[in-house]
Assembly symmetry: C2
Homo-oligomer: 322 residues x 2
């Protein structure tokens, strides 16, 4: 039984999104590290969306949704549920347009993310840290406000916006053999699939996922969506399940999904901070962890690595845990 019809954005939607959002986003830099190239035997190109406006790639999709609204729809505001970065991003984009943004967030989300949402003017309603609770509380908020729902990843406007990231990455590099991005709900990976399947179909697309939240991996192997309620992982942006629109892209265009342990994620995160001198979230670390864990797949290849966000609670770093 399907309760949602898939709405698949096109390559032209992605191109239109890029023109629409350019005034509100950064064209983030691509960094390299000779140390990490030596360690992996690959040539890695890190697309640094941790330097993006609102600290994450999600501002691309959120801005595309917000600035694509008619004035009449925009006046009622936007609303979403999110583990954090989509909430920041939608609040930022709504603020740039001067409209309200209603956000349902788990009460367990990092305090730094809640503070940042409020800093961008977002109005938070808290829910329990499960998909079930989030969806119930959200329905209530939406009914009360009449705001336009912008799903964190299953929205075609959002997927088209996320696709602009790999368009820039291809423009900033001289050809790639593969791209690898973390996968939670699949918004960034779907954006990569949307863009690369037309712009550079020779590029293999890998997704990296925590073992402890491996629903996308199991979905990919089973051939249909498997959704877990409230998995636990340090990569807190990757807990959410695939939905119809992202499943379309993942099932049709992803080469493989690679999983990594919590310790591998923490080690890759700390290694990136130490050697690349950038602040990135645990949710960004599975791709490098997967490359380090599967050297035979990537050795000798030119690999784009999406660093998805940098909104970290600096008082709670994972390697500081007992």
């Amino acid at each position: 039984m399907k309760d949602t019809v898939t709405q698949i954005p096109t390559y032209e939607d992605m191109l239109a999104a890029h023109e629409r959002i350019k005034p509100y986003i950064h064209r983030t830099p691509v960094l390299t590290s000779s140390f990490l190239n030596d360690v992996t035997g690959a040539e890695l190109f890190f697309k640094c969306e941790n330097f993006q406006k609102a600290g994450a790639f999600k501002v691309r999709g959120a801005s595309n949704a917000v600035f694509g609204l008619s004035d009449e729809m925009a006046a009622r505001g936007v609303a979403t549920h999110s583990s954090g970065n989509h909430a920041l991003s939608l609040s930022y984009a709504a603020g740039r347009r001067g409209i309200p943004c209603h956000v349902v967030m788990p009460r367990t989300a990092p305090q730094a993310k809640k503070d940042a949402v409020r800093g961008y003017g977002g109005i938070i309603t808290e829910c329990e840290p499960s998909t079930t609770s989030r969806e119930a509380v959200f329905a209530q908020v939406q009914a009360e406000t009449g705001a336009e729902f912008v799903h964190p990843y299953n929205d075609p406007r959002v997927i088209a916006g996320q696709g602009t990231c790999s368009k820039e990455l291809m423009e900033q590099t001289d050809g790639l053999d593969a791209v690898i991005a973390p996968i939670g709900g699949g918004g960034m990976v779907s954006g990569c699939c949307l863009t690369l399947s037309t712009l550079a179909p020779e590029v293999a697309i890998y997704a990296a996922e925590p073992e402890q939240a491996d629903d996308a991996y199991r979905s990919f192997k089973a051939g249909h969506i498997i959704a877990d309620d409230a998995p636990e992982t340090i990569a807190d942006g990757l807990k959410v399940p695939l939905k119809e629109n992202t499943w379309h892209f993942v099932s049709n265009h992803v080469t493989d999904i690679l999983t990594t342990s919590e310790q591998e994620i923490i080690d890759a995160m700390k290694l990136t901070w130490a050697r690349m001198k950038i602040v990135m979230e645990a949710s960004c670390a599975p791709p490098l962890a997967a490359i380090l864990k599967n050297p035979d797949i990537f050795r000798g290849k030119r690999v784009g690595v999406i660093i998805t966000g940098g909104n970290v609670d600096l008082d709670k770093l994972p390697w500081m845990r007992g």
Copy 2:
């Protein structure tokens, strides 16, 4: 009484240094932050030497010294004493030339810095954490090896190399009203003075220093070098005193030296990590701390801020302290 004759590098020395070291260094990016611009009322341009080879600007001066040696001198290797980043940088440069590098370091230097020196092939001899001990142990090492001494900052080859940083900064920005850099021994500040006094004499040059290691500030006000033995500050790269060659530049070209408390340094460091998503040392934070503390000096100005290095012990972050 002076025991050293000043040796002042020229603007042409700096230009020659840039040509000499370009193959071995990064042209580091200049980043901006609309958040920090809003907070300070200034337009800030962060020259990110934390992304530099070996993780610090010091690779500029070290590379200029190493690659300027005759083959005969180079064969005996190089030697230095350093609180850390010059040691890394000289080891890196010596490694690129294939010659030995002897390093005298305080036994209290962060373990991460010792590991990194050894990672670049440097040979460490430990000393006590005082200027007196460092110089005594170093004399012994130098006598035994015959290696060429490359002082961390009082060496004219080193100052000429550091001057290449502000040359790049001016090329990467469309005019500046001021530049501000942290001051310890004065190598980076002297490099800024060397370059800007010829290239852009209209640019005011500020130095920022920890209150707890304010020997440069007191020297500047007194009109002669005042040296403290082993001051204590979280900004561990800024503990060393001015020497003759750096005093020349500081006394002739610096507009003012601004001091900041330990807490102001920690707050500015954490703010930079949180908002700019970059890993930088506590020793890089006094400039932003000084701008936040003295808004009237910088408001409405275009200000270059030198982020000097990113070699941090991630297991010992200052805001984690009791």
